[in-house]
């Protein structure tokens, strides 16, 4: 164990002190932050004007909404309730972008359902909520109290708004969330490939400069391989933590400095409430920034704790699984250039894993998607997608089972890699052939 620790320490020290490690640790997250900033700054690419249908069966709202007009909305009222599928399909509703359902007991239950064709951005959602709430404040004050609106506002209960896709009211197809998982999954594969190549190069270098012979006179090949894989794995985790920290701090700073009004609804609503009496909505429209879906995605939709935890777990599983392949090739190479041909198949498998994620986003309920979720080659991407979509309570076992499978496969493959490593590491100058690998595998 002590020897494994020494080897892992050496690997860790060497990798961490290398210039490429520091460059990757700094430039990588900065690049990501730059990309995020650019996407944030792009602003809303969404619709500029929304036709809103208010389905107010009992006409509580009296076909009125706001004291002043908001240029972003045109409100239409009907005194009936339209089903989701009707709203989604019927020709007469095609021109409406949003439908707001005002139920008969809204005064007591405070529930408002908004169905949409295209998900409005957070700011548009807040704006709509604002208008509806203001109208109900007026109604409540008029019907139930003697208070002024501003006084009533201080004691009132907020209304609960839920936004639903007209074509997916149960929120079964959550592509946006799936893309988040996909990005995380690709991140796993990217890290695995990066550090898998580090294993390959490390093994091949020790072999080509013959330091391996001195090492093997002190440690067992399996200890050497284990130490190396562990050391490089820890390096990857350090790199990952640095990325996480830098990106985390960057996103926090974005929110605090460049985009302070991003996603703090209370801040905005407070501001709106205070300003309401004096400011026209037109003015508000000019001052409030309009952000795109990406902002919601980053600041609201990603459950970072969960995603990062499983990112690390699946990364470790995938690292042992794919890393074993890289170690096999590195140790079996007769010369440094010899192994290049064997990297191509692994790269193809990695690309196929990425493509499998794409498939799963659009075909989530298929049996192939289910299988891909358990295959160690593809499970890191697929399961991150599934995780970001969310598992129902009865299905949580799936992610643990998938984790178990990838770790089991990684363990078995690592044992096989150890066998090839032991038999191949002291072979020099040969041409690497598949037959040779099989022969080394058979040999204990």
């Amino acid at each position: 164990m002590r020897k494994i620790q020494l080897i892992a320490q050496r690997e860790l020290k060497e990798r961490i002190s290398s210039r490429s490690f520091l460059l990757t640790a700094l430039l990588g997250p900065l690049f990501v932050l730059g990309l995020v900033y650019a996407l944030f700054s792009l602003g809303g690419s969404e619709k500029q004007h929304w036709n809103v249908l208010i389905m107010d069966k009992t006409e509580i709202m009296e076909n009125k909404i706001a004291p002043k007009q908001d240029p972003r909305f045109t409100f239409h009222f009907i005194n009936e309730f339209v089903e989701y599928d009707q709203f989604a399909t019927l020709e007469q509703f095609k021109d409406y972008d949003l439908a707001v359902l005002i139920n008969e007991k809204i005064i007591s239950n405070k529930q408002v359902i908004v169905s949409y064709r295209e998900l409005p951005s957070e700011s548009i959602q807040r704006r709509l909520i604002y208008h509806v709430e203001r109208r109900f404040e007026e109604i409540m004050v008029k019907q139930f109290t003697d208070l002024e609106v501003s006084k009533f506002r201080e004691i009132k209960q907020s209304m609960n708004f839920s936004f639903k896709n007209t074509s997916d009211p149960k929120n079964e197809i959550n592509h946006k969330a799936a893309w988040v998982g996909y990005v995380f999954g690709i991140g796993i594969l990217l890290f695995v490939f990066l550090f898998g190549m580090t294993i390959l190069r490390g093994v091949a270098n020790e072999k080509s400069n013959r330091v391996i012979e001195v090492l093997l006179a002190s440690v067992h090949p399996r200890q050497l391989l284990t130490g190396k894989v562990l050391g490089i794995g820890i390096t990857a985790l350090v790199q990952f933590v640095l990325w996480g920290l830098i990106i985390g701090i960057g996103l926090y700073l974005f929110r605090q400095t460049f985009f302070p009004d991003l996603l703090d609804p209370t801040l905005l609503v407070e501001q709106m409430s205070q300003d309401l009496a004096q400011q026209a909505l037109d003015e508000f429209a000019l001052t409030a920034r309009n952000y795109n879906d990406f902002v919601d995605l980053v600041y609201r939709d990603i459950h970072f704790t969960n995603m990062l935890l499983f990112f690390v777990l699946f990364f470790l599983g995938a690292y042992f699984f794919y890393g074993s392949f890289f170690a096999m090739i590195g140790s079996a190479m007769g010369s440094e250039s010899d192994g290049q041909q064997y990297i191509i198949p692994i790269s193809i498998v990695l690309v196929l894993s990425i493509l499998s994620g794409y498939y799963v986003i659009y075909h989530p309920q298929t049996s192939l998607a289910e299988i891909l979720g358990y295959l160690p080659f593809t499970s890191p991407v697929v399961m991150m997608i599934e995780l970001s979509r969310g598992f129902s309570e009865g299905d949580v076992w799936k992610i643990y089972f998938s984790l178990f499978l990838i770790f089991l496969a990684g363990f078995i493959l690592f044992r096989l890699a150890g066998r090839i490593y032991k038999n191949g590491i002291l072979q020099f100058g040969h041409r690497l052939k598949f037959r040779l690998i099989i022969r080394w595998l058979k040999k204990s």
Partner: protein, 309 residues
């Protein structure tokens, strides 16, 4: 000290070592000789437990060798390798600790060796900054850092200039005096003659010769004598007209020569001297033992002839 008993090793049905047995006594330097591909490296790897023999065993100080014994072995392979980006100190710490030495002891040993070789300034240098010879020296230090009882050195002098060859040779002698055992694998037969006590010759995986260096050379002597004299060459040749065969001669100056000759019939060394004394002034006369290189060539070629026959 080290005992090899019936070592067999094959790679994919090809026999690399066959029934190799020999002993290496404590405090001796043994030359492991053999042409390329004879199986020396395989044997060394087996002693170092890098690979396992198919059959046979090795014992060290009377005990069957286990991985525990590895800390008593220092191994300098022929193909030297160091981590280029590591400093001399870190490299020594890494390898020393792998051999089971505590960190503080490695530091002390490193201080000792750096001072001994007068290279204290190299401590913080990266390996890639060193010349080939300097790196060889670092490698030698890393090999002996843990003060092993058994040293296995594969071509230890290659890459060194004559001054450093002398330095390493002196260290090996010091190890011998300290009771350490050294296995020296080399193609440099002159080194073998100069510093080895014993030699083992391996050819095609089999041990074909073993013994003390002097005994091996004596066993292969061919009755060759060298006489260095002053006088007339014609008088010398005339005196040896019958009963002797002149093989070659070296002319030092007009009157001083060294002649190599063999005796014919029942003649002995005393007869030779009494024949020559009246004719020339003898400076030195001795029996010439074959060099280890000659013995090596002879044994290997004899093996080839047997094969052809």
């Amino acid at each position: 000290m080290l005992q090899l008993e019936g070592i067999y090793k094959s790679y994919y049905r090809q026999r690399v070592l066959e029934d190799v047995s020999f002993n290496v006594p404590s405090g001796q330097i043994i030359g492991l000789l053999g042409p390329n591909g004879a199986g020396k490296t395989t044997l060394i790897r087996i002693i170092n437990q890098i690979i396992e023999p198919d059959k046979g065993y090795i014992s060290l100080s009377g005990k069957r060798m286990t991985s525990e014994h590895l800390k008593n072995i220092g191994y300098l392979p022929e193909e030297r390798g160091l981590y280029k980006t590591m400093t001399v100190e870190n490299h020594a710490l890494f390898l020393g600790q792998l051999r089971g030495l505590p960190k503080n002891d490695v530091q002390k040993q490193l201080d000792y060796w750096l001072e001994k070789f007068e290279i204290q300034g190299w401590r913080k240098k990266r390996i890639e900054e060193l010349s080939k010879g300097m790196a060889q020296k670092v490698q030698f230090i890393c090999t002996v850092l843990h003060d092993p009882d058994l040293l296995i050195l594969d071509e230890p002098f290659s890459g060194f200039d004559p001054i450093n060859v002398d330095l390493i040779r002196a260290e090996l002698n010091a190890f011998r005096v300290a009771g350490k055992t050294i296995i020296l694998s080399t193609h440099n037969m002159k080194s073998v003659e100069e510093i080895c006590d014993r030699a083992v010759l391996i050819h095609k995986g089999k041990k074909i010769m073993e013994g003390a260096i002097h005994d091996i050379r004596s066993e292969h002597k061919e009755g060759l004598f060298s006489i260095t004299f002053t006088g007339n060459m014609i008088a010398f040749a005339t005196a040896l007209w019958a009963g002797y065969e002149i093989i070659s001669k070296e002319v030092h100056n007009d009157t001083t020569f060294t002649v190599y000759l063999k005796m014919r019939g029942e003649n002995e060394f005393n007869d030779l001297l009494s024949t020559l004394l009246p004719a020339v002034k003898i400076i030195s006369a001795q029996e010439v033992l074959p060099s280890m290189e000659d013995v090596f060539m002879k044994k290997i070629n004899a093996g080839k002839e047997v094969e052809h026959a």
